[in-house]
Amino acid sequence: MSKVMETANSLPLWIIAGLVVSIVIFQAITFIRLASRTASTVGMNKLEVKTALRTGAISSLGPSFAILIVAISLLTLIGNPVTLMRIGIIGSAPVETIGATVGAQAAGSDLGSAEFTHQAFTNAVWVMCLGGVGWLLVTALFTKSLSKAQAKIADNGQKSVTLLKVISTAALLGAFSYLGTTQVIKGMNEAMVFLAAFAVMPLILWCAARFKLNWLREWSLGLIILVGISVGYFIS
């Protein structure tokens, strides 16, 4: 077990994980640069670009923290660099835990057990990495085809603008409804937190609009998370 962890935390693995992290950061910076340079051509000013960036950064604090707390459990099981690489890209901590578990079992030993061998570790890494590649491949291969299909809809002038708005808004609402109800049916506490957030969010946004507090809009998701955690803390 300890020998396996030595391998799991060795330099070459750190280098590969470091490269993956660098690419994620590089990609984000590239898209920020591209989007900023495009902004003025669609009537978006510098202030709005900054608002978008700031709101994105603030809104990710809460979710990131929750993600990382779960990810910590992986550190002792698969080592630091592999955790960094797997959590840093597509694939959530619970999904990666499944991958690591079935991978290790297929090689004959349990994750984190005394008999955890180098082969079992390698197999777990294979399964997690191949699993993650599934999403990446589909995205790399098919996003262009999807955008061509979208371009066909968008070729219809004004009519298509309203059409795309309806599709995007409905899709967003559909996704959140799905993700929200999976939480609600988990239990009474989750349902209460959901309802509290559902009731308080319009208040926050109303205040922001009424008193022209743009910072409040930017912080709205952060605040709603604090409201949710507090409500959950007191009722559970």
């Binding site: 989007a35 495009t38 559902f198 955690i229």
Partner: protein, 245 residues
Amino acid sequence: MTLNKEVQNETLEQGLEGLRETAGVKTISFEKFHDRSHFWGRLTIWAVIVLSLALPLYLSYGLGFHPGWSAILSGFLAYAAVVGVLWFVEPISYYPILGISGTYLAFLTGNIGNMCLPAASIAQSAVGVEPGTKKGELTATLAMAAASIVNIVMLLFIVLGGSYVVTLLPQSVVDSLVFVLPAIFGGLIAQLAMQKPLWGVIGIALALAVNLGPVPTSLKAFCCIFGLVIICLLLEKLKKTKEIA
């Protein structure tokens, strides 16, 4: 005289444009933005695919811990049985929301439902733009890119030693983190439903039906997203025919 002035203004503007170009703040058109997004998006994702294969290959052959292809395959098939459908369903389902650049961003950094979409949606509300518009797409891209950076920097900090700090947190605080997700989605549904109350009611009803009904887990998100899109398109059509009549 006035004509002369106009000409002068024009040359001045052209000059300014040239200056901006040389200063490196050249603006690009929306079509060009999509082209470059495809290029950089694909390049970065292919690079990560290569690295994702390099890691297990190094362990197998560089260090000689190869577990055998049959073990890899049996583990992979067990895993694919759980998530395999999602590889195809998720990029297609989320595309109408994420757009081109958003898809490349979100599917590389991950945490689409719990981080990228919420960040994008709230940023659109803060800037005051609608989803599905050009400005909305740029806003979402900027927000998700910023979210991606914050997420990975926090992860880096935790992995490089911050996990000790986290162990100092009281257990009750760690336990209440399960309420982050219900809070996020409750708030975001309310935010969107403020604009479209009817859509919100139908969306939640549909999602409850899908979640409690006999739908395979991997297809649930797809059913909720595309189901609501179709219903809303029909509703809009009904509204229009009513207006005409």
